[in-house]
Amino acid sequence: MAILNIVQAINLALKQEMKKDKTIILLGEDIGKNGGVFRVTDGLQKLYGEERVVDTPLSEIGIVGSAIGMAVNGLRPVAEIEFSGFLYSPFDQIISHAGRLRTRSRGRFSCPLVIRVPYGGGIRGLELHCESPEAILAHTPGIKVVVPSGPYDAKGLLISAIRDPDPVIFLEPLRTYRVVKEEVPEKEYTVPLGKANIVKEGTELTVISWGAMLKYTQEALSKTNYKAEIIDLRTISPVDTETIVNSVKKTGRCVIVHEAPRTCGLAAELIAQINEKALLNLEAPVERVTGFDVPYPLYKLEGYYLPDEKRILRAVEKVMKF
């Protein structure tokens, strides 16, 4: 088995699925000849031609809008948005259309498309290249939102996303794109959407995270002796409530870590679900460690913005000592 990073695992998933399913079309800016600004689609245009790996004009609305149309008409488009901040302009297409087409047509039409977006900060990126618009997406009915944290899941989740009958936004963690490496089988496999992963079992405390933040959360927890159960959400919409609630019922304590802003962030929703289903099992209020309610700063300050070991451990201590 090959040791791959996330970029390579996604490339492999696309390559294999495209071979199997001729209706898959990749479209985006600089994804063909250039192989993508992060090289995620490297080599695919050579393999499958310019008709299936399309360098589009510079228009995110054009990319997403036409991907919706292609999906309606029998293709399986996998669109790439070059950087997270450029996902905002096609929101109208995503929220008003991709998310409600099935509803509006009473099931007659649907748009099984995937929108891949490298997201998150911590890479000394330019302004608007480091956004985490996950909560806005998770708030949107009709679309699924998937965030792999490592190469194995990235491949399996992407294949599931492509085969899924509904539109899926696939958020790829920029900060760990090339940092997290693991064995990725060459053979075909899928990782189901909507199912969280218990990365490590534990009894004293539940810690929930996803995407790039998972790695840094795990590293922080390795500095404590608490027996933490670590959950990687993997799909943030629809969320796997069952896994979370079962874990919190067992541990009675919970910390949630995400880098997106705090207000109406995903942690708020998870806390609401825990309160609804496991309030009486709680030994302490649930703590969340998040980005701040400010525009993502230019990179000299991003180290202060992103949840770090200190803030994560402070929350853990607070929950444990309550």
Partner: protein, 354 residues
Amino acid sequence: MPRKLVTNFKVEYLQVLDNSGNADEELMPRLSSEQIKELYELMVLVRVFDDKAYNLQRQGRLGTYLQVKGQEASQIGSAYALDKKDWIFPSYRESGALITRNHPMYMLLLYWSGDSRGLESPEGLNNFPITITVGTQIPQGTGVAWASKILKEKVVTMIYFGEGATSKGDFHEGLNFAGVFQVPAVFICQNNGFAISLPREKQTASETIAQKAIGYGIKGIQVDGNDVFAVYKAAKEAVDKARKGKGPTLIECITYRLGDHSTADDSSKYRPKEEVLEWQKKDPIGRLERYMLKNKLLNDKNKKVITEKSTEKVEKAVEEYEKVAPPQPEDMFKYTYAQMPDKLQEQMKDLKGE
């Protein structure tokens, strides 16, 4: 039933200075010898700055940087046509226009090192913060110009973008508004051949970018973007026209990005070296130099002095930039709202561990 031609449009192309440095005297814009020298000095200064910024990035002393190289005539020739109180809307590649508009060079370096203090437009300068999201500045610039009209100020807004931006709705919507409301705006499209890896031919099926103006009832003109006189002439005409309340103009500057898209890009993946070499021969600075040498506005000696002076200025800017202490974490909270809400006060405390 008639079937007839309803209307017919033409697109003008303007070149004043050929590559050997010969100017068409009839087309030559009104510029004094001093002004020509000033244009030249600015172009050299911007080139020296640009090369320096690139090198700093390579040495790990600057973050990702996007080079101007090759587009000096387009940027300086256009910005030079503005008055002090006019506005510019720069994209990420407009170091040349910004330096022409007196944005301090050390602040540009600060910005490209991930420090938002570099974006602060010095008091009295209407330089809008650099736009990263392609094309979004276009309708905003239209709005600033529209406000000038409503407020009866004789102020012009110049909006910069690349040909890639013309694929975005923002461009079309911004131009349409500009046409409908006849705002005093000048749209400068630097058609530098590529939007990252995408060549101009694949960006749009239309023959020129300039003709897109026609769809919105505004004037469009194509100019040789490596000819500082042509750019200045077209820009000055457009600025004067806008100031008189006669409406907006779109100027397509045909130029070439001599460097990679950014310091994170490798353009050898998508364009042949020979093409770059061809365009290097059309370098806008060399062209102006040849004109000036012929017309005795420059000689080898003062050419050297100008380069040395520019290097000195840039080195000073680097020194000043590297002396700036790192930003404080509170900085990111400070400007979110006019008045900081309680929740941000609390979050700031949380950051400090209080």
